[in-house]
Symmetry: C2
Subunit: 75 residues, 2 copies
């Protein structure tokens, strides 16, 4: 599992579930829009405290961000 890719894909997936732009999501999470963009483009290995900010803003349990959706589809 590529944790950076799985995390990136999940952030984008759940952000779109909420119908939020990167900018709106950045504001909600208290993180910068360029930081959210970098995460979704797999350019950042972020630290756990920011993982929690993101999960809180996505209104989901944290561990869901680490489940490989593609793997589930292929099993």
């Amino acid at each position: 599992m590529d944790i950076i890719k799985v995390f990136a894909d999940n952030v984008k997936k759940y952000r779109l579930v909420l119908g939020l732009s990167q900018e709106a999501f950045a504001e909600k999470s208290g993180l910068h829009r360029t930081y959210i963009s970098a995460i979704e483009r797999q350019k950042r290995s972020i630290a756990l405290d920011n993982v929690q900010k993101i999960a809180d803003a996505l209104e989901i349990e944290t561990h869901l961000l680490f489940i490989d959706g593609e793997k589930t589809l292929n099993e």
Copy 2:
């Protein structure tokens, strides 16, 4: 959820399941013993690439490190 605490508790739990000391686990994961110790004492907010090293060394799926065991017990 306090992600640092949940992660710390899970690292220790699964390390003990494998019957490994912090030193043996550090060697297996390729991380330093003082770093493993700091994680378990909730002194570090680690980055995702090291989260993956730890999950791989624990031989578990990454998302299990983010499930709050205490919460499960109380529900």
